[in-house]
Amino acid sequence: MNRRRPETTFYLGEELTRALEDYRRTFTVPPSASALIREALRRFLEEARQNEGTLPARAWVEATEPLVTRLALEGVSVPTEEILRGLEEAEAERAIDLFGEDR
């Protein structure tokens, strides 16, 4: 007997609803327009494609445990301040890319 998978149905519905809301926020179109549905579906499928090979947070923590253990054994110990400094660099790099600033 075929059984429905309600959790899958819920996931699809939730994601599609969000994609539709995003699209409505971005473009002024009648909510019933078929283009709206197509665009929302396109975005949903694009996100699903991008998520290939990724893991939900709990599984991700488990999956990355071997790497983290190895790095800790190797003595890798990075201060949070350096991570924040790296993020500042990301912002500065983006500014250079966008505006050609020379800092």
Binding site: W60, T64, V68, S77, T80, A90
Partner: protein, 140 residues
């Protein structure tokens, strides 16, 4: 729990360090729906490259850490409104850049908190009533 994570949280979770590393990893187990603006993977890559560049981690470590970091399933979002909102938030918080406020704009749109390790930004935003929190420490 739905939550916007900034890049500092993700990098802290994947690279061992003195403060909050293990606690952040434990905390992340409870995040059922991580969200971030589209710029997040670029930021993670740059932050890890920075650690490599200044000699804190070896090139092979940087490669492994980035590859693993990018395996987290994060809902990446981008919209014109988010960036406009980020600009206005940066003005209100009196900061020159819109990186942090893009995360905050997303959190406000999604109706969930933003989690960051950047205590200066956290205090600034939280003092104005915005839902910005540290994942594990009580920073007020």
């Amino acid at each position: 729990m739905k939550a916007v994570l900034d890049a500092s949280v993700l990098v802290r979770a994947v690279v061992p360090g003195q403060a909050y590393h293990r606690e952040v990893r434990d905390w992340m187990r409870g995040v059922s729906e991580p969200l971030a603006p589209h710029l997040m993977p670029f930021e993670v890559a740059t932050a890890i490259r920075h650690l490599e560049f200044i000699g804190l981690i070896a090139p092979a470590t940087a490669e492994a850490a980035l590859a693993e970091a990018l395996r987290l399933r994060v809902g990446l979002r981008a919209s014109r409104e988010m960036h406009l909102h980020a600009l206005r938030l940066a003005r209100e918080l009196q900061v020159s850049r819109t990186r942090d406020t893009a995360y905050l704009a997303l959190a406000l749109r999604e109706g969930c908190p933003l989690f960051t390790l950047d205590e200066r930004f956290l205090r600034n935003a939280a003092s104005r009533g915005y839902p910005v929190r540290h994942p594990v420490a009580d920073v007020t």
